[in-house]
């Protein structure tokens, strides 16, 4: 008997050692046909553009789908020495704030503009989380063209989310903060002094120009994510809220006590009525509004000092609360606009609310109480139903065009497909590992393009070759054409991807700008031809009107600069041909280089510290004679009498 036991244990140990009890390895998950579904042959185009937030790199990455190839990393909230964004005189104002120049931020959510609730391919908006701002990126130039700062905000996380016709971009504060004149208050006075703020940024339908139309003053807790209503629920916004406990320390514990937090439903049409009726209060604030002008190729920054505030605790009918289990994160509205999905990070189920039922509950005053004067609708009265045991740690939900929802589960590391109407779970696939956001092309719109769901993962561990302690984040592409989701591709990402959107390539491809017409260049220091290239001194400021064309810079010999000068190299790229940028760099410059697109003018400020000869050159391999595209600047000591001279292609005169 003993012997039998021994053999049994030995066999059990052998099974365990052989790995029989380990979960199935990731390599076994893809099936044979996957490669051909993501293969985009050389010279062929991808089907979708995928705009992926860079998280802590502050930029917006552009990938192709289904290949996962990276095309561009658009600088938005962080400086980018490789093309001079945030370093050139023209782009420095883009990163100006009420705090001064902020060279970095944390970009979480892109939002593509819509008309009638469908993608229109005009702009992408993005949020700066740390120093609250919203940016607008032009999808014909793939450049950041506007950044607006948000006063009364801390941690601009529930942002930017847009209404059906891009009437508004909203930005809700994550941190509640003290508002008003005196902000030097004890942290422990949170309940009394700290307030939430939701900013409604109006977008000009023609130019895209943003301005803060009004702010909603809301109860002091955390506002996490948001979605606009659409179709029948157009005119409403939904925000997930956590920390209704109003904790200000150790939130991990103290903000997880309440069984339910809220989804805040905002009737913004009602807010507009109050605004029109003059119920808004003008408050003194300071925030920057930065705009890039495509004609002068320069940004300007204006500090604005007023904002109009509507207090939802005093103005009834703007805001209602829907109880939602356990610290909701995602708060997503399905394509019909009828269903609102709450994702309680710590909940074992997912509630789906019905907009129609919510409206009835409001009409019938079917409230379970109020919070700081705001009605709290009875949970059951607005509830369409609950998705039971969907997974652990639901975060975000996207939708296809067939009535299905796809929810990411951080803790159980999977995507779960379920039916919005029946609330039945239909399929689940693992992600590698710990998915955050996910994206179905057109998922947040009225007409999802479908076809794929992309997971954006926080942890990659053993998925790629290791690169020391700091590893890449990743995206994973799954087909959603069939009943079952199918993993097709892994690809690493730059930065930490949070939310992403995808749009059919055909909506952007043909309107992509190729060059800037030189005749439309209105830069104050443009040289629209080599004959206009020159050097002018104004006191200690020296302006070099330089031109670049294959394969020389004009002027390429400059003398008469002095230590202590501010030398402005205004470089105009005279090319009018597609894909011929020129670069400019000079030895010892304490900032960065310039990349100048055809027809554009950009300026590098150089402050020479020591007398000597300084080489400069074109940094973008522009032509067969790129390596010849260079020049010299001579710097003489301060106060020296070396005459100001400049030339290109002329034999050197006698030594001076």
């Amino acid at each position: 008997m003993k012997k039998y036991n021994f053999y049994f244990m030995l066999a059990a140990a052998a099974v365990m050692l052989s790995g029989g009890c380990k979960p199935q390895g990731p390599a076994g998950v893809t099936t044979g046909g996957a490669a051909s579904k993501v293969y985009v042959a050389p010279g062929q185009y991808d089907e979708f553009y995928n705009f992926v937030s860079g998280g802590f790199n502050g930029q917006l990455a552009v990938y192709g789908l289904p290949s996962g190839r990276l095309f561009r990393n658009i600088p938005v909230f962080s400086v980018n020495p490789e093309n001079g964004y945030g370093y050139s005189e023209e782009t420095k104002p883009m990163l100006n704030t009420s705090h001064g120049f902020v060279p970095w931020d944390d970009f979480h959510h892109p939002a593509l503009s819509t008309t009638n609730g469908e993608h229109d391919g005009r702009w992408a908006f993005g949020n700066a989380n740390n120093t609250p701002r919203v940016a607008r990126i032009d999808l014909s130039t793939f450049r950041t063209v506007e950044i607006i700062e948000l006063p009364n905000s801390g941690g601009n996380h529930s942002s930017p989310f847009i209404t059906e016709n891009t009437e508004y971009v909203v930005a809700g504060t994550r941190f509640s903060v003290p508002v008003g004149e005196n902000r030097d208050v004890p942290i422990s006075s949170y309940k009394e002094n700290f307030k939430g703020t939701i900013s409604f940024i109006k977008v000009d339908p023609q130019t895209g120009r943003m301005n803060i139309a009004f702010q909603l003053r809301t109860p002091g807790f955390n506002y996490d994510l948001s979605r606009a209503g659409k179709g029948p629920s157009h005119g409403w916004f939904f925000f997930s809220c956590y920390n209704t406990e109003q904790a200000y320390t150790l939130l991990e514990v103290n903000a997880s006590r309440n069984d339910k937090d809220f989804i805040m439903a905002v009737n913004w049409k009602k807010a507009e009525e109050y605004l029109a009726a003059g119920k808004g209060k003008t408050e003194k604030v300071r925030y920057a509004h930065n705009v890039y002008d495509e004609k002068t190729h320069s940004a300007s920054s204006t500090i604005l000092e007023e904002v109009t505030v509507l207090d939802v605790m005093e103005l009834p009918g703007i805001v209602y609360f829907l109880p939602c289990p356990k610290s909701p994160h995602g708060c997503d509205v399905d394509p019909t606009g009828e269903y609102i999905v709450g994702s309680g990070k710590l909940a074992a189920l997912m509630p789906v609310f019905s907009f129609t039922k919510m409206q009835q509950a409001i009409a019938n005053k079917d409230f379970e109480g109020e919070f700081q004067g705001i009605p709290v609708i009875k949970y059951e009265s607005a509830l369409h139903g609950e998705v039971q045991k969907p997974g652990l740690g639901p975060l975000h939900t996207e939708f296809d065009a067939n009535g299905n929802a796809y929810t990411s589960f951080f803790v159980s590391s999977e995507i779960v497909k379920w039916n919005v109407k029946t609330l039945q779970v239909l399929d689940r696939v693992p992600t590698y590992y710990s998915i955050g956001h996910l994206c179905v092309p057109g998922g947040p719109t009225k007409k999802p393009h479908g076809k794929y769901v992309i997971a954006y993962n926080k942890i990659t561990k053993d998925r790629y070759l290791p690169t020391g302690p700091e590893l890449c984040q990743s995206a994973q592409l799954y087909s959603i054409d069939g009943d079952k989701m199918q993993l097709l591709l892994d690809f690493p990402t730059i930065g930490e991807p949070h939310y992403a959107e995808a749009i059919p390539a055909g909506m952007l491809k043909d309107k992509s700008v190729k060059i800037y017409p030189i005749e439309e260049n209105q830069h104050p220091y443009v040289a629209k031809g080599e004959k206009m290239a020159r050097v002018e001194r104004k006191g200690n400021d020296v302006h070099v009107y330089m031109t670049a064309i294959r394969s020389h810079l004009t002027p390429d010999n400059i003398e008469g600069l002095r230590v202590g000068d501010n030398v402005y190299f205004h470089v105009t790229n005279l090319e009018q041909d597609w894909d011929v940028p020129h670069g400019f760099a000079i030895k010892g410059a304490l900032n960065a280089e310039l990349l100048i697109m055809p027809g554009e003018t950009q300026t590098l400020l150089w402050k020479p510290q020591k007398a000597g000869i300084y080489p400069f050159y074109c940094t973008d391999f522009c032509s067969a004679l790129h390596q010849e595209m260079q020049g010299y600047a001579r710097v003489s000591p301060a106060g020296s009498g070396t005459p100001l001279k400049f030339s290109t292609g002329e034999p050197a005169a006698a030594n001076q």
Binding site: I549, R550, Q576, D577, S623, A624, L625
Partner: protein, 194 residues
């Protein structure tokens, strides 16, 4: 002198009027492709202008010492419109004159103008392709860059094509049709009348 067949007369009239369109459509085209220009570059020659990727072509040509293409290089542009107007006028006169001699003169003028234009284009191309800046960045000994007169030619990394555009084809077809009617006049209409 012998009158022409009424159909011939109408054809002459229509051809003269159709040629007025040559004031408004490109006459000739030059197309270029290279590995870096898969989409191709084009240059369109009009009665008094050159359009298309002229700046880009000039920028590329500077490597091999070819001069930038500018309107002032072509004195032809100042008088070509008068020649065309003259041809149209001769066509209208020939239709009014209604005689074989008129048709003959009209055809000779059209063909003569076409040959002269090609000869002129060849001479410009020869000069433009051979008369190079000796200080050009790239000098290939013995290499000249005369563009093709008609058809394709490989010039370093570029494949160049030269040929008629809509206006050129119009002239060519008109000439063919008129010659056909001239032959009809000689061999058919004259006999049937006789």
């Amino acid at each position: 002198m012998k009158k022409i067949h009424p159909t011939t007369r109408i054809v002459i009239l229509i051809s003269a009027l159709a040629m007025i369109s040559a004031f408004y459509i490109p006459l000739w085209q030059i197309l270029m492709w290279a590995p870096q220009y898969p989409e191709g570059l084009e240059m369109k020659i009009w009665i008094d202008n050159i359009t298309g990727d002229v700046k880009i072509i000039s920028a590329l040509n500077h490597y091999i010492g070819m001069r930038p293409i500018e309107l002032s290089m072509f004195p032809e542009f100042s008088y070509m419109k008068y020649i065309l107007a003259g041809i149209v006028a001769i066509g209208l006169l020939a239709a009014g004159f209604n005689r074989m001699a008129g048709l003959l003169v009209y055809i000779l003028v059209i063909v003569g103008a076409g040959v002269a234009a090609l000869l002129d284009f060849y001479m410009w191309g020869y000069n433009y392709g051979h008369n190079l800046d000796p200080n050009a960045p790239i000098v290939v000994p013995g290499m000249a860059y005369q563009p093709p007169l008609i058809g394709y030619k490989q010039l370093l990394n570029f494949t160049a094509y030269s040929g008629p555009d809509a206006g050129g084809w119009l002239f060519f077809i008109i000439a063919l049709v008129l010659i056909a009617f001239l032959l009809l006049e000689w061999f058919k209409f004259s006999k049937s009348k006789a």
